[in-house]
């Protein structure tokens, strides 16, 4: 969009601009705490959050909570993704399967994710089993959809090339269909990662038992410990960012064959 603003005449240099707002907000916060602009116990000074953070790390609390959350997250994610891949491939390869199971699947998919929790909590109890089941569900849907989409979008030209080369069943799947569908499949897995993390938090709020980063925040809320809650938010943000970054990295690696140009075979 630089053609709309050919000359950047703004006084503040480009690299510094992104810092202005955060620094300003922090300064405001610090001032508010220092000069007691309000008497609410919610206004914790900035250094209190830092102290809490240090405490959480040192006492090991953070790692316990994080480990519990991430363990559940990854197990549920793994189950959901494997199930999703299997389903998605079945949908993509078998018209019969798609026509028989598809409509039911699409209907169930419409139900907003978290609405499943109460049902799951009755069927699986209130502990980890229900949470993992829920997480698997969260990861399952995007993977199925994107895998299906990927397989169905394999370009006709490549299919014909494979027919001429007389591919057998196995070769079809592993040498053509899956590689060609891999951008979509990986996009689905990336989505599943995000949804699974979102679901992890939600599950911890709704099925309040055991440990986890979400539980930490809920505890903080109940005890009016704003510093703990803020700390939790920052940790959650970091984990979200890290997961996103990892997934993007992986995608770039695995899809390097696409080159920098828009994917045309």
């Amino acid at each position: 969009m630089s053609f709309l603003h050919p000359e950047d005449k703004h006084p503040v240099p480009k690299v510094l601009r992104g810092w202005v707002l955060p620094v300003l907000l922090l300064a405001l916060w610090w001032l508010a705490a220092r000069f007691h602009w309000t008497n609410s116990p919610l206004l914790v000074p900035v250094d209190k959050v830092w102290d809490t953070a240090v405490e959480q790390v040192r006492s090991g609390e953070l790692w316990i909570a994080l480990e519990a959350s991430l363990r559940r997250d990854l197990i549920g994610f793994a189950i959901g993704v494997s199930g999703g891949l299997a389903f998605g491939i079945a949908f993509g390869l078998s018209r019969l399967f798609e026509r028989m199971i598809g409509p039911t699947f699409h209907t169930l998919k419409q139900i907003s994710l978290f609405a499943w929790i109460p049902l799951l909590s009755v069927w699986f109890g209130l502990g980890d089993a229900a949470k993992v089941a829920f997480l698997s569900l969260a990861a399952f849907f995007p993977v199925v959809l994107n895998t299906f989409e990927g397989i169905r979008s394999v370009p006709g030209e490549l299919i014909e090339a494979a027919r001429v080369l007389k591919f057998n069943r196995r070769q079809w799947l592993f040498k053509l269909i899956l590689p060609a569908a891999s951008p979509s499949i990986l996009a689905g897995i990336h989505l599943a990662l995000i949804y699974a993390w979102l679901a992890t938090l939600g599950a911890e709020y709704l099925l309040v038992s055991g440990k986890g980063i979400g539980n930490t925040m809920i505890d903080g809320r109940e005890l009016f410990l704003m510093d703990l809650v803020i700390f939790g938010v920052i940790v959650v943000g970091f984990v979200g960012f890290a997961l996103n970054w990892l997934a993007a990295r992986l995608e770039r690696r695995l899809l390097a064959w696409r080159g920098r140009s828009v994917a045309q075979f």
């Binding site: 950047d8 707002l21 018209r95 419409q110 907003s112 049902l119 009755v122 989409e149 809320r221 943000g237």
Partner: protein, 288 residues
């Protein structure tokens, strides 16, 4: 279809690919015509759900599990009818709908304004985008306890959370949509001496509309998600509340009835957005 377009169109609510390509793939994988190809696909969809229904009925009838855990289909449908008749269903539905529409509306306007500002003004974007990006790393639910502390648990909490859920994808998609308007079209506008206003209205916005609308649909999905969660956690009316209440009293028939409504309403609203998309973006076929 370009990868750019594919990436922008992939969303959790993506339906199946065009029938043409699906037949090509399926036909290539199973070239011989099978018996079911002659049957209308619509009928094929029935056996599986009917089978599930039968299974459910039998399981409830012979109490393979306790009736609190698995109410019979008749119980659920009866409860559903009762809830509708008593007006309870509609009352709760109305409250949920109002909440989501208000929250989504706020998120939509905020997201569009923010996205447009970032897209059109590089300076504004330099100031705001890093902070925005940092905030968007925290999923909607991550903010819940914090907001609960700040605003309590009544309507404000719900509206704020729902609007945040919608605002982030809408702002991002709008910003990127504007930023990614192909320079090719802008050059045409320059050669044809469009004024800045003409450039914005006749080139930038139409060209950015597909990704923006994608963001809108995505935003709505998230708004609906946030609505359900916040009603499950912190509400005394609405569909989510019905679910939680039913669950606490082990009235799973109520829970199921409410879940069905959540599904149907969510789907319907998304379809409304899809129809609007066809009207707005009907010109987009093989597209750019």
């Amino acid at each position: 279809m370009s990868t750019q377009q594919a990436a922008l169109e992939l969303s959790p609510s993506t339906q199946s690919a065009s029938p043409k390509s699906s037949h090509v793939v399926a036909a290539a994988v199973t070239p011989q015509l099978r018996f079911y190809d002659r049957w209308s696909p619509r009928w094929l969809a029935l056996p599986f759900p009917l089978f599930l229904l039968l299974l459910w009925y039998v399981a409830a009838r012979f109490e393979w599990v306790a009736p609190q855990v698995l109410p019979s289909p008749q119980a659920v449908s009866q409860t559903f009818i009762d809830l509708v008749a008593s007006g309870e269903m509609f009352d709760n539905l109305k409250i949920s709908l109002l909440r989501v529409l208000l929250g989504f509306g706020v998120g939509l306007v905020g997201g569009l304004l923010l996205g447009v500002a970032m897209g059109l003004s590089p300076v504004f974007k330099d100031y705001v985008y890093p902070l925005f990006k940092a905030f968007s790393q925290v999923p909607v639910l991550g903010w819940l306890p914090l907001l609960m502390l700040l605003v309590g648990i009544d309507e404000a909490l719900k509206i704020i959370l729902i609007s945040k859920a919608a605002l982030v994808p809408i702002a991002l998609n709008t910003y990127k949509g504007i930023e990614n308007v192909p320079a090719r079209y802008v050059e045409v506008a320059r050669v044809l001496k469009f004024s800045r206003w003409q450039l914005l209205w006749r080139v930038i916005f139409p060209a950015a509309l597909p990704p923006i609308w994608n963001g809108v649909r995505y935003g709505f999905t998230h708004a609906w998600l946030a609505l359900v969660v916040v009603e499950l956690l912190a509400s005394s009316e609405g569909l989510g509340y019905m679910i939680v209440f039913g669950r606490q009293l082990f009235q799973l028939d109520v829970v199921m009835a409410a879940v069905v409504v959540v599904g149907v309403v969510g789907y319907t609203l998304d379809q409304v957005l899809a129809r609007i998309e066809v009207v707005l973006l009907g010109w987009r076929r093989s597209g750019f």
